[in-house]
Amino acid sequence: MPEALILGAGGFLGLHALDALRALGEEPRCGRRARSNVLGLRSRKARMASADLDDEASLVEAMRGCDRVLHLAGHYPRTSLDPATATRTGLEQSRRVLNAAAAAGVQRLVYVSSTATVAPNPEGLSDERHSYPSPPSHGLYHALKWQMERLFLDEQRFEVRVACPSGCLGPGDLRVGTSALLIALARGMDPPHPDGTVALVDARDVGQGLARLLLAERAPKRLILSAENHRLHELLCSVAPRYGVPEPSPALSAAEAIARADEEEARSVRENRRPALSREIVDLVVHGQPLSARLAEEQLGLRWTPLSQTLDALDAWARRLSLIPSAKDQPPCSAPPTRPASSASSPT
């Protein structure tokens, strides 16, 4: 029986995809780099294979005997400060994956892109038909994701399917990516944030969607995986009572958020740490748009976990890891505290 390989299996979404594939009876190989964190894979007793996106031979070897590859390891620049290097790295690694898959005789590859590549629909919700004709100029993240996705969509040697998950929430986000603002809010840190539309989805549903996209005999070439559309500031205000913290300060303007993120990214490089507010997040929120994932529901029978249940799962996990205070340490939700006026940063 041919096997499947997951590139990026040890990551947040990769582990959920692994769980979903196992639930469908697959026992995929899990690609790993020499220095990657494989705690999640070890605890799941996953079968691992060396696979480095900077080493095409290792990719061919890892893919040998596999008919399907799920690629979640696309380059994800930590900051937007060096667009040229990030773009070169992202595109070179993508070409290596494609060439290795062709050399190893892979029949189908699912590439995990981003909803950053989905263009706005002036008439309402955007769906898979809405694409930018050329790289969007919103920032590095959007432009790089567009170029990488284009490479995969243009592949002719084997079948490629592209998944575009929106902001993923759920247990296991060790780098606290999309969840970062929620975690910061829950810790009472009043996170600075822009406002805009955020499309969100439960990471476990994305895992299911990716597994089905990889295994389905027939499926769309490009598929959005997204559950709910929200305004970010409203969302943060609505979840504050859940953590017994005051509502966040008003949102930053787009210009202020971009300036703050650029500044924060520069400082994070100097101090060798993750930026508290990344340009990628700011661009995604500021240029965010409401999405429709009806195609995924119709074609793959996917159903989306309601946000409240996703947050319950995220909270339980984050509390277990002490990323947020345990419920008993928090005041009851019935009377959420208000933020003192002096601590609010007013938008310009």
Binding site: L24, G25, E26, G301
Partner: protein
């Protein structure tokens, strides 16, 4: 007194058809049909495709969503695919017992006629051999090409009608909604910690609630593979079931008490390594401590873990499971009127159980039937303000449920109440009959109720059976029956699941005098 299981988390899917769609992505074997020494494996995708072709055939035959179709097949891929295809078409399945023998198909269908009349189906999905004897439109083959997409269903829509085994009265059709079926399956799966790494094996007939929900819907919902045998193969060769379980590394199986006892007493060959087996669900009839002990004595040396045998309680009116014994929460047997009752555990997630002052067990859960099909009177009698009156007697002790019998089955002899199961167990054992080869009946006598014990005895065991049965009843229960009747094996009227049909037996034997 009332006990409750933990809350049932929100259902991860909305309907059975969603679970059916999910299995279609599985390219590994999901269903392996074992016929004697032959086997045939179907991947989830293959079975889904087959179900989609059955759906096309069913829709082509004119079935509209919400209409009923009888599912009448042997225990194999046809049953599973036709059932799943019917659900995809939005139909309501009425599983009926496939005849044990097809030597006289006309007679076999005649016996099913009362159920067919009661179910009033639009279609009968069955084999080409039986179809000519069905006086209704039938579908015997899947279409050549699949239907696309499943009909939308709501949680409250009926998914299937489970005719109760009818051991105590006229069979009634418990209408099970999609939500009830999912709730029950989810609840049972949580209690057993089922998951994709499990491996199921079953010989239970799929038309029976334990087979349909325990053996088919659990693997469907939790995505683990199932080896499906035919009941007749098991009854002839319990060894094969155990060998197969060892061979595939089965982790979960369900059966009534008599099935486990048959394994313990009749399996002759060493089965192989049973150490992966972690759930052996024992339910659908009273659980005997002796069965648990005999099974453990026989198969403990082969790695079967004592904690795997899980007494349970359930009934078709609650889709299936109500309570399940949890070995991490051990409970002693309960002394009750001179016998030992094993605990059937505490309620499953989302299930509440209470015992009313008369001792009747009542159940409330999201898995309750919507009612009996076209029987508002019986439905009103069974469902009381959201609670199901089970007709079973029980006790709650230290948070655990114990089943002591059926309300209508009590045999009162010389002022002492006996549960017929106990009398039958002793009588069958003494007569050398199978565990379900005896029936104890009370009949009105000139002064008081009289006890008649009817045992099935083959020629070679018949000598002195009257003396042996009487002696054993006196020795073990202190009970002197008024009459012991012997009949040939197979003479007792039985339900499709093999239980003795008491009203019919009473009609046959209750009035006879030696």
């Amino acid at each position: 007194m009332r006990i409750s299981g933990p809350p049932l988390p929100p259902l991860p899917v909305g309907g059975l058809t969603e679970a059916i769609e999910a299995i279609g992505y599985r390219r590994q074997p999901w269903l392996t049909v074992v016929r004697g020494r032959e086997e045939q494996a179907f991947s989830g995708a293959e079975l889904h495709a087959l179900a989609a072709r059955w759906q096309a055939a069913i829709e082509g035959a004119g079935l509209e969503p919400g209409e009923r179709a009888v599912v009448l097949f042997p225990n194999d891929e046809r049953w599973v695919a036709a059932f799943l295809g019917l659900l995809r078409a939005g139909g309501v399945a009425v599983p009926l017992a496939f005849p044990a023998s097809l030597s006289d198909p006309a007679e076999a269908m005649r016996r099913l006629q009362p159920l067919l009349t009661a179910a009033d189906p639009r279609l009968v999905l069955t084999t080409p051999e039986l179809a000519p004897f069905v006086a209704l439109p039938s579908v015997t083959q899947p279409a050549s090409s699949p239907a696309t997409g499943a009909a939308p269903v709501r949680g409250e829509d009926p998914a299937f009608i489970q005719f109760t085994s009818g051991s105590l009265g006229q069979p009634r059709g418990a209408v099970i909604s999609h939500r009830a079926a999912l709730s029950c399956t989810f609840s049972m799966g949580l209690a057993m910690a089922l998951g994709p790494v499990d491996r199921g094996i079953s010989w239970l007939p799929l038309y029976h609630d334990m087979g349909l929900v325990g053996a088919l819907l659990c693997p469907l919902f939790f995505g683990f593979p199932l080896d499906l045998m035919r009941p007749g193969d098991f009854l002839l060769h319990p060894s094969r079931f155990l060998s197969r379980a060892a061979h595939i590394g089965a982790t979960v199986a369900a059966a009534p008490d008599f099935g486990w006892k048959a394994c313990a007493r009749r399996a002759r060959l060493p089965p192989g390594d049973l150490s992966r087996w972690r759930v052996a669900l024992n339910g659908a009839e009273p659980v005997h401590r002796s069965t648990i002990e005999e099974f453990q004595a026989a198969f403990g040396p082969h790695g079967f873990r004592e904690s795997a045998m899980r007494p349970s309680y359930g009934l078709a009116e609650n889709t299936l499971g109500v309570a399940l014994y949890e070995p991490r929460d051990p409970a002693p047997d309960l002394q009750h009127e001179g016998r030992l009752l094993p605990s059937v555990g505490s309620p499953l997630p989302g299930v509440e159980v209470e015992v009313d002052p008369q001792g009747e067990i009542r159940v409330r859960s999201a898995s309750l039937m919507s009612g009996y099909f076209r029987d508002p009177e019986a439905s009103a009698a069974a469902l009381d303000d959201g609670w199901l009156r089970t007709g079973d007697l029980g006790q709650i002790h230290q948070g655990q449920l114990y089943i002591s019998g059926r309300i209508k089955d009590l045999v009162i002899h010389n002022g002492v109440k006996f549960h017929p199961y106990d009398i039958e167990r002793v009588a069958a054992e003494a007569a050398g009959s199978p565990p379900n080869g005896a029936v104890a009946l009370a009949r009105p006598g000139p002064e008081a109720e009289e006890l008649v014990v009817v045992v099935e005895v083959s020629g070679r065991n018949s000598e002195g059976v009257d003396r042996r049965v009487r002696g054993a009843l006196v020795d073990q229960l202190g009970l002197r029956p008024d009459q012991v009747l012997t009949v040939a094996p197979g003479a007792l009227p039985r339900t499709t699941s093999g239980k003795v049909r008491r009203p019919a037996a009473r009609a046959l034997f209750g009035g006879q005098h030696a």
